[in-house]
Amino acid sequence: MNSALIIILAAILISAGVGIFAGRKMKMNLENWTVGGRRFGVVLIWLLMAGEIYTTFTFLGASGWAYSKGGPTYYILIYGTLAYSLSFFILPLLWKIGKKHGLHTQPDFFVHRYNSRALGIFVALIGVFSIIPYLQLQLAGLGFIVEVASNGAVSSKAAILLSFILTCAFVYTSGIRGAAWVAVIKDILMLLAVGIVGIGVPAIYFGGIDKMFALLIEKMPQHLVFPGSGGHMNVWWVMSTVLLTGLGFYMWPHVFGSAFSAKSAETIKRNAIIMPLYQIPILLVFFVGFTALLVIPGLENGDTAFLSLVNKAYPPWFMGFVGAAGAVTAMVPSAILVLFASTLISKNIYKGFKPGASDETVMRLSRIMVLVITTVALIFAVLLPNELVNLLILGYDGVCQFFPGVVLGLFWKRATKTGVFGGLVVGIGLVALLILTGNDPFLGLNAGFVGLCLNAVVVVALSLMEKKERRPEEPGLAAEKRI
């Protein structure tokens, strides 16, 4: 057993232990399991949201993009910030509606606002299909980090199996509370790892971040602006992409749903204020990618830049530490993804077809679905590790299409379910068409953004075409005047 292996195993086991322990005294009903009884304060909500947002992609992808594409990687700093700014205005309203009407999930909101279980089922299906590739990406990232960090002592498949079975266990027992407490460990490990490496490597090789940049500016200045080395990723592409991902960010069913766990609308608002500070670690990850470009140029896969550089610059036990941080960083979002995918299936799809199902049945089914989804994701991760990347892009572009339905639903009385249905079908259809025919980017713009624009137009047009008096009195939100 080498030191790296011991550190990684310890981190995975301790995290799972904390996760299981977190729910020990709670009576697990749907309310406690999915939204933590709506009792999370600012700190826990912050950790939970940061836990699900900053994933293995933060480690590997952001440094990989800084390495291989350069400037376009800055888009990650931007879209999160836009999303937080937007969330300041939207999430507190959603929270109030959620509290008042006992909503647990994103489709619950659609069902409530548009008074249509069918729309809820449709939204839940899109959500689940988008979550599965995202989950698989977390697993693949986890396996990759642990395998490299343990220097091959733990195979990627073994790492995925072990950590994911444990994740499944704490989701099963503790629900979202388990994920929030494991997020505490994750945050400490990840901030330490990123802080040490991000400040460390430029200092080790060049004597500081400014000197590293001075050298890059001298050697390859164009790498540091748009489009950098990213081909089509010019400034227009970046603008359309940050708008799409910034607006769509809270439309991920698990991120949307987590907002309901806050104890008040005020908590959510304060959380939105401090969230942008969490972007600083990403900046440090960029520094690692840029340093790697100077120190170890010519890597075939940019995503390996972070780990390759750590391997070169630090002793093996530190690699173990990075591996541990990477593993836990994948476990937290995976937990939340599994939890919400399960709840979407039981609460919105199953109960959508069988409205009479009791909360106990739905809760029991949710837990069974945790096992099913875990198994499905594991099979994908082990058998088809590389097949889902396109599905992930489609998934991200897909959930972004919920934006008009949510925002117009909140602020525009006349938005109708027909409009939202139509907008979703047209938006997602167009995105799928553009991506599958190789037309992303379309006229230099992100295909998802093109879909989103058309989607919004369709929602507005179809809603306006419906005769006002035909609609029954909406139980919906725009009617709740105080909000």
């Binding site: 602006v225 400034v235 227009w236 008040s264 609308a265 204020i273 960029f286």
Partner: protein, 73 residues
């Protein structure tokens, strides 16, 4: 729309102006500030200023909007 909400929305729109629509104007390396290429410095500066803007928005809402009944702290 209450005055506080209006002011808050104006502040909340600033990151969208600076971090999206201003990008074509700041897509450059020079001047290098604090060792960072100008584009990265610009983005970072507005990322860091966003919490300040949102905090101001929060305070303005508190100041100008009437307290809502039944509000949980």
């Amino acid at each position: 729309m209450p005055k506080g909400t209006k002011l808050a929305l104006i502040l909340g729109a600033i990151p969208f102006l600076t971090l999206v629509f201003a990008l074509p104007l700041v897509n450059r390396i020079h001047p290098v500030i604090l060792g960072l290429p100008f584009l990265l410095f610009w983005i970072l500066a507005w990322v860091m200023l966003t919490p300040v803007l949102l905090f101001a928005a929060y305070k303005l809402e508190k100041k100008y909007n009437p307290p809502q009944e039944g509000e949980d702290r």
